[in-house]
Amino acid sequence: MGKTSLPDAAKIKDELLKVYPTKVKRKRSKHITVISPEKEGDSIQANVRTVPGIITQRGCCYAGCRGVVLGPTRDIVQIIHGPVGCAYYSWLTRRNQTRPKSADAPNYMTYCFTTDMQEEQIIFGGEKKLKQAIQEAYDLLHPKAIGIFATCPVGLIGDDVHQVSREMSRELGINVFGFSCEGYKGVSQSAGHHIANNQLFKHVVGLDDEPIAGKYKINLLGEYNIGGDAFLLEEMFAECGFTLVSTFSGNSSYDDFCKSHNVDLNLVMCHRSINYMAEMMQAKFGIPWLKINFIGAQATADSLRIIARYFGDSELIDAVEKYIAQEMPEVEKAQAELRPRLEGKLALLFVGGSRAHHYQELFKEIGMKVVGAGYEFAHRDDYEGRKVLDGLEVDADSRNIEELKVEKDNTRYQARLSAEKKHELEKQGITLNHYEGMIPSMEKNTLSIDDISQFEQEKLLELYKPAIFCAGIKEKYGVQKNGIPCKQLHSYDYGGPYAGFRGAINFYREIDRIINTRIWKLIDAPWKEEEQIRADFAAS
């Protein structure tokens, strides 16, 4: 399909809004942005509450906190304080892979711990039961750390998970800390990310000052090791000569978090879920951060080069170039093989808080065209870049999400870069502590849609007839019933890994497989057409 045949995105936007009652139409209209040729002023509404009754992709604060950020850590016992459901649904459902260092090293990720709150606790309070539960978990497992997660009713009945955590910390002599991540807080998972960042920063980061051996010390933030992505990246860093101290949080452990303030640089993958941590580590310890992207081969190469230039050592720059040169031929071979089968096909991506941006890279690399993309729970800075941060208003729904006041740690703060070095990097186009957002990388006459609804999704499928739609598990089978493949970008449909160079090749092949599988051509029975003609004939 050539460029000229693309429908007018503005008209499509009108179609998406038609059905809504006036008030809803006005609201939703602000969440749908037609990308203009210059893109500069393209603005979008995000991180505001979903209209009740709209079928949304979004989940809750608890899911963002326990499910996304803390979930992938194997050796913190995570007790969910609340009725059983919230704990149950976040039990092993996110595919965060983990590799304990030995056969008897702790790994609690296969377990689900909950206080399974009953009516009695709703009426009389649940703190006693929570304390007892912490004690029982300790007696059984003797972990180094226990995290307590509050679900919806807990805040309402006034249980204080922080007070209980402090008491039990003292009593047991281990690190026990709480998360007030009740599901009604904020407007989506996003509030939970923030709360998780805050508590990890307050209670864990910086506990271990033991110097770390190795050169080019980095943390990888916002990488959750879905389908083994982090494993591939760990290998990549090792081959290039980096020292990866901690990943927040994929294949991660408590001890790694504790010493994560001893690095030279933080790398940020999913800006939405983890930028708070990066900012706080910058403020307290002086660690700069770089927004990078390891989804897409070119993006991976670019990211590696930027990191190497940050450190500036020719030894590292050479190692990175060598690694890229070693990996690229296979990537190019796969691209050349698959492009003819995929070139020009349309893709739509509506997912998460960073993937809708990152995965556009992979589609472009195989010649596909992204005509619409949007996030489930991101903020305006993820769309338009951090330049909008100063003007962002915090509304009533987000006002109560604590913003930690972080100050310089006078003994441990250490500026990693001189002002000149920073300036020099900027001259090379490398801006620290910055994210451009998704919109600048999109093409004109495409759509950016925030918190897409089920109805809008259906309309887009009807109007664009894309070759592929990317979303999550709730959307998957509705899309596919239309005869259009849906690739899950949360769970990867139990495939992957897709990060880095080898991951990119996996992804190209996966997209070819899902689009070109024979079954899409076998949906209609062989007699359907003939019978239709006969029926039409009889009717005329």
């Binding site: 009652p21 209209v51 459901g85 711990f113 007892q132 059984l140 019933k481």
Partner: protein
């Protein structure tokens, strides 16, 4: 090891649940609501619950599962969710155009104390519910009971809020199928048809959560019990309710309201429970039990007689939901197997009583637990192993660690297909189940047997 921290030694726990064998009420309410034609389930609470329930049901059914939410924010949690629900109803009918909205509550709206029936009346008064459209509701706090309770509560609401009758008995009976799969519901309808009966089954998820690939998404698939049918259930001759935990409440409510006598049976899983089901249908049929059904029964019995040697004496652990466990255990006993550990997360003394009837004499060493968790079941297994494990997909972690043949049964099954397409109720369902059990047991024998005694014929 996947569950490396599970010790053999069992210390009682009072407050900590580890690896639950139940989940929360609303998901059951949604599943029941999906069994009504053109119904959109609605979750009155914060949107996370609804997202989780939809995801879990989707993983089990591999089908689109639609449900809306009141999307509570902190404000709604303080001031109550009335405004949210009114707005939601308005939007739902305008945008998604269902015939029925079935509202269930969550822990949040229950803790706040929202009065949903009152809000629905207000919605009617405000003209937010279009002519001819229906809204029903069930109270489903998750700090009481389990997903089973939620299912039961919504079915009861259907029986009370959608039912109608003219006071004249019709030649028809109601079937309340309990929490079974769409294939089971289809099979139950077929058996009733073979018996020459007119039936109304509610809920009926067949054709809803197992809809065909047609190239066109249907927001409301063809299946589900129709509103016009529900309006006649008060005139039925009788109600046959399957499963005490999931169907009794609805059947009794209907009896109280319209004097439709009810019989509560075990789920017809396995030989004897199916016999009782067919027997219960007989008084309402003018026909003798048709030969076709006798044949089906005969084939199941034949299969058991042929393969009995591989089943006898095998120790089985099973976990899941009470209604299923009751019938499964009875079936296993009829196969001469030994259900030594039977555990549900749902609370209920009547479960223990019924299990005592089934296992008391036959398997005196059996351990039966209500309100238990899978962690405990695993510990039992560590203390004295079993030959077979039956349960939902979470069982695979135990099965792998302990190297036990494993048959997936129950909810949720997130890693295999078939459970929604092939019935396990009725005689044919019994054969399916038996085939799967035999499959894993014989595969195991083939894997472990020394080369010289490897058998071609078994």
């Amino acid at each position: 090891m996947l569950l490396r921290h599970t010790p053999k030694e069992i210390n009682p726990r009072k407050a900590l649940t580890i690896n639950p064998a139940k989940t929360c009420q609303p998901i059951g309410a949604i599943y029941a609501s999906l069994g009504i034609h053109k119904c959109l389930p609605h979750s009155h609470g914060a949107q996370g619950c609804c997202a989780y329930h939809r995801s879990t049901l989707t993983r089990h059914y591999k089908e689109p599962i639609m449900a809306a939410t009141s999307s509570f924010t902190e404000g709604a949690s303080v001031f109550g969710g009335q405004a949210n629900l009114l707005q939601a109803l308005d939007n739902i009918f305008t945008i998604y155009n269902p015939d029925i909205v079935a509202i269930h509550t969550t822990c949040l709206s229950e803790t706040i104390g929202d009065d949903v029936p009152q809000i629905i009346s207000k919605a009617h008064e405000d003209g937010k519910i279009p002519e001819g459209k229906v809204v029903i509701s069930a109270s489903t706090p998750s700090y009481v009971g389990s997903h089973i309770t939620g299912f039961s509560n919504m079915v009861k609401s259907m029986a009370l809020q959608l039912s109608g009758g003219e006071g004249r008995k019709n030649d028809q009976i109601n079937i309340i199928p309990g929490w079974v799969e769409p294939a089971d519901m289809r099979e139950l309808k077929r058996l009733c048809q073979e018996m020459g009966l007119n039936t109304i089954m509610f809920p009926d998820t067949s054709g809803v959560v197992d809809s065909p690939q047609t190239g066109k998404f249907q927001m409301y698939p063809q299946g589900g019990v129709g509103l016009h049918e529900m309006r006649r259930i008060g005139d039925s001759e009788a109600t046959i309710a399957l499963g005490k935990f999931t169907s009794q409440a609805a059947a009794e409510a209907l009896d109280a309201k319209y004097k439709v006598p009810c019989q509560i049976l075990d789920l017809p899983i396995g030989l004897k429970a199916t016999d009782r089901f067919i027997n219960a249908l007989r008084p309402y049929s003018r026909l003798k039990v048709p030969e076709s059904i006798n044949y089906e029964r005969g084939r199941l019995v034949d299969m058991i007689t042929d393969m009995q040697q591989y089943l006898a004496g095998k120790r089985v652990a099973l976990f899941g939901d009470p209604d299923q466990l009751i019938s499964l255990s009875e079936f296993l006993v009829d196969l001469d197997m030994r259900p030594v550990y039977v555990l549900t997360g749902t609370r209920g003394k009547k479960f223990l009583r019924r299990m005592q009837e089934i296992l008391g004499q036959a398997v005196p060493e059996a351990k039966v637990q209500h309100a238990g968790d899978i962690f405990l079941l695993h510990q039992w297994i560590k203390n004295e192993p079993v030959d077979l494990l039956l349960g939902n997909s979470y069982g695979k972690y135990i099965a792998r660690d302990e190297d036990i043949p494993f048959v997936r049964y129950g909810f949720p099954i997130t890693d295999r297909v078939g459970h929604t397409y092939f019935p396990s109720v009725g005689y044919q369902g019994g054969m399916q189940l038996l085939e799967r059990i035999l499959g894993v047991l014989l595969d195991r024998k083939d894997r472990d047997t020394p080369e010289e005694s490897f058998e071609l014929v078994m």
